[in-house]
Point group: D2
Chain length 388, copies 4
């Protein structure tokens, strides 16, 4: 097997974007539990995100959600972030919390409501210019709950038209990234339910439109790494929303539910040219820390991605190719499993220390006193959550 | 096939309990849409429920949710309901919205919190005495989100102990009904995830403990009518929570997602002695009308149950038995399908008119002006929802 | 609602292709049960298929499977079929039963084996010229059972190359139709697992390449009618393989497991222009009658498709559009359900009689004595099955 | 974390029974690929199994399948096995390959066929006396493909009666172990589809009746370790059939599809007292090596179980209890993951060598020349497979 030393340099520069909303409260339709120290503002979210980057060196960017993270002065916010050592990343639009969007947004039959949703994306593009963000990420809650409630075909056509208008507004360095989701919040049909629909839509737009793959947005049993392979092959994998799931869109810590699946995904990312400085793929977390602490939840997440990346890089590709060509099923599988079962944690700790980072980021954060500090300081105000 | 005339008398007395919370706002973790006319109080919910019963004659009881429907004087509430022509039904406990229950209720490792959850059920039993309710329905949100977070075995043992304490407090005519659910809000493990667990727990309690089957609480592909058959055979089917689903616990209108499944369930109910005056099975809806109007949503639901009951009763049981014994696969299936494909709606309309009910309850409600009236009158206050 | 009379003329000319292999024995990996009267030759299969068409008028074509249905003289076979009143339809290739294909066919790493698989398709095209068939249907068993066993990306690229070679050989009136399948016989990855992959592959080929949608080849919970809508919108729905399923690729009688799903599929077919004389969509059955009689199993199947087509045509499209635009969720759903719950069987029986067909095709076939006759006559020889 | 040294002694005596049929050919309904060296007789299967035990020390017993492994003289077979260093284990009955069982066996409506199925189990018990086997394992293919085809309730009652007759015939040291399966070969309903049904049936029989949990026999998303916990708690976990799956009952190498799930299962086994000399749980493989070599496939499997057992034993239970009680979600999860991510392979290799076993059993087998030898010697005859 390849040695850790030989792959260590490839770990340099790995970057996983953090979602601002991961630091706010989240929950289920049954209950959102509040926790002490939860940020009230985007500035406090950025401060929390900076903690994650500080102990891991893995998370230099923070994705924003509009309107949750709206501010008056985005240049000031950009500087505020820079002072903390992080940058502003992907801009996520939101057309699922206004009352007008009850029956759709970019797909709505009502021209006025549809325009409102398009305009919201124009505003997001304006913000991107101010923040220096590259990606406009669109996840739509559009869909229906009952057969017959909507005309799926008409909705798809209107979606295409809306996206074309938004795409036309993009700057030359900007991209539109369209996310797909199997179900929820709509329960009969979702307007962008699968990678095929997202691909067909972005392929019709042009080179600056890509697909976003959220690892929790698939039917039970779906082979996600196959989709990773296919989208890379088609040149259309724009970004990841990493998380994990046992059942639906559980939004658990990435790698928590099925670490072997995360490994297989990273194997295909590496295999397909999706990893490294020239990759067009943006890596991002999209998680909800409903019952666990949020900052260490994010630390654990980026470490999981890093550990699995290291394991994926450890694969002896030459031996694997040979075993595959020879029809040596157990041999080929064994080469993959060898990399997966290798405990890279010690090597990574040493590697981290060599870069001035703590060997054990979870312990370092716990020892920092930051959690106690924010719990004490952040009193009053309204804690951030999805509705904030 | 059996004629409608020959089964008409069996439709008399069919009763489907309405959940008070179906009349309040509901939604997903992404958004709860408000609608004009939504009740602010349990009294207004009862008034809405009475509308459903008024046009269908099918819904004489309303289930309460504690603490959502707490009042100072349950006797007064009972009389208020009676004046509207309905009665108070099942009492549903709630141990999922207090902050102390973040890590469990009847299963909690902390003795104090567990006692608080037990005490809540004692209070529910007290309320049952005041309302004249028969059933205490327990659905638990208890579970964990991450492997290792909790000790599943210890939790199960504590659950058994908690249930035993609650069971011991039941009056002689009262029952404890334990609901199971595959997942949500917990995403790794649920403490009562399947009928087997619910059955094992209630079997250990005694004759007054039964299982509640919510039709939306199963793994994908589960043959629900088999479970209906099995629980009836074991004498432990206490009640239904009817709704329908395409993906998870979507809580859609019963029969909306898979009408044939609803039919097959009713076939097994009839086959196993679960239908009729001597049946121990309580039929109840448990739905969320996120995007559709709530009162007509409930009307549609009870009509769907009635229509499928009629179809199930239409099966020529003698011919079916003969075909089954003869190994006549297509013949036996055909007898079942004949009943399913029979359009009973005209016969039911006539049957309804013969009883002084409107032939078309949906149209009758729409024409009644009630919706306009409540939209105009119910201004101000806080609309009911799951958190209210 | 639209009346049956007003849609009756649209039922003329409906044609559902029968698969020759449906008349042979089939089963599971556990056991294939034999039945008296099972055909031994393609000629006997055609004779059986002609029975289905004779009593229903719905099944004028029979799809062949190569090599299962290989003969020396296809012109003679074509005439033989014509004398029976049926025509030869789609040619299905088979690269899953030769030992060389253990690790793949059109995707194989070995150039020689891959060429053998391509050559097999060239042979199929030759046969198509002789039979007058329009469609070459390709379903691949290619895939792997263990992570690492194969290089998914290389396999996809080789698949593209193989398909391009086959596509180049098509005559001007011929089409290539690529089927996708979620899993089985491969258990880790399938080389064409979803509609997106099939679409990306055929889009790269050209106008004569289309997608085949087998209704049993999806992940649990997949909204199949959405895919129907999307493929029609993209102009790439080439054909259906109809069947039904509760769990995996059960290959049950179409409409048997979820009649409402079949209805919704037909609604989208009609909505998207996939039904009628100008439609590019070929309708075909792909079923396995493991425990039921095969000929009546096929009769039941085409009748189910016809009945659901009639119901789909009955929808009051104008009223539906209005309800959808008005956000009238229950109203729109109700219009759809009205059509679904309408019992069209009586009207269809009369319609059939008006065309010289038996009112009750199932009864007519049972009364014909054909089953008894073939059971008596077809003694000796080897009954057809998947391996024959 | 606990050290390997401190748990090493607990690895002594671990035993995983091998299924005789794993050494024969297997496949899907599409194709069974033959491989050189496949055994033709039970004696050759035992010889192959002895190879697995020889290099691992983990597989001292071989389960038989009746009638596949029927011989005239079971005492002779017992001695033959003993000479090879293995013993005969569980007896598996088979009521799914005789034509009479097309519509059921222990559940059949026909009293004669049902008696034949009961008698088959009596014969199995007789064989158990001759082989010295403890367990009679019953897996039933009984079920139906279409709604209405059978009366599920009547079938369940007949099953109970049949099992009672079989149970009554057991010797004092013998056990009946009832397996459940979600679906396949039946596609609408299975007569023992879930653990609840198996539990209810064996609980009605008595102390010598237990449940068999096959890890591939559950609905998508099922939390299998919960069931392990529950059955151990109820005192009814009799045995495991280990394998793994991505989709349905894929019967892949245990731990191949989801190693973390295998780990969690072993964690609950250890937690619930299911591991060690006093455990009533029999561990067995039930796999199909469709495309990989069979003997190394079995070696890989037992090693996977051993490695995951070691990891499960490494958990610092005291620290875990403390974190669980403290509501420290990330801490508790981290303790579990620490054990999972520990690479135990080096320690196990050394441990093996200390016991006179090869450090690398896979390599040792490959180097042994056995595979070449059997490929050369086993020419002619009929290779074993499910039908043999």
């Amino acid at each position: 097997m390849t040695t850790f030393a030989s792959i260590a340099s490839q770990l340099e520069g790995q970057a996983i974007e953090l979602p601002s909303w991961a630091f706010g409260n989240s929950g289920t339709r049954f209950k959102v539990f509040a926790t002490p120290g939860t940020p009230r503002t985007i500035q406090e979210k950025l401060a929390d995100a900076a903690q994650v980057h500080g102990v891991t060196g893995l998370a230099p960017k923070v994705a924003l959600h509009i309107p949750w993270d709206k501010v008056d002065d985005y240049s000031a916010l950009r500087e505020f972030a820079a002072d903390l050592g992080v940058a502003l990343g992907t801009i996520n639009s939101n057309t699922f919390q206004d009352d007008v969007y009850k029956f759709g947004s970019l797909t709505h039959t009502d021209a006025g409501i549809r325009q409102q949703a398009i305009d919201h994306h124009f505003e997001c593009i304006d913000i991107m210019h101010a923040t220096g963000s590259q990606d406009l990420k669109i996840w739509l809650a559009d869909g229906t709950n009952y057969p017959g409630q909507g005309d799926m075909r008409g909705r798809q056509d209107r979606l295409a038209d809306s996206l074309a208008q938004i795409y036309a507004r993009l700057g030359s360095e900007q991209r539109l990234v369209l996310e797909y989701k199997f179900f929820e919040p709509a329960f009969y049909h979702t307007d962008v339910p699968d990678w095929g629909t997202s691909y067909a839509q972005v392929a019709a737009l042009g080179d600056k439109a890509m697909v976003c793959l959220d690892t929790g947005h698939h039917a039970p049993g779906t082979n996600i790494e196959f989709i990773v392979m296919q989208l890379l092959r088609l040149g259309k994998l724009g970004s990841f929303d990493f998380n994990s799931r046992f059942y639906a869109d559980d939004d658990l810590i990435v790698g928590a539910a099925d670490p072997f699946q995360l490994f297989r995904i990273m194997v295909e990312v590496v295999r397909g040219g999706g990893y490294g400085p020239d990759s067009p793929v943006a890596f991002m977390l999209d998680q909800c820390h409903n019952v666990e602490d949020k900052i260490p939840g994010q630390i654990r997440s980026v470490l999981n991605v890093q550990e699995m990346t290291a394991r994926a890089l450890l694969i002896d590709r030459e031996a694997l190719d040979a075993a595959q060509s020879a029809g040596d099923v157990l041999g080929a599988n064994g080469i993959l499993m060898d990399a997966f079962y290798t405990d890279v944690r010690g090597d990574l700790a040493a590697w981290r220390e060599g870069r001035g980072l703590p060997a054990d980021p979870m312990a370092a954060y716990a020892a920092s006193g930051y959690q106690t500090q924010i719990a004490a300081e952040r009193v009053g105000g309204t804690q951030s959550s999805w509705g904030a």
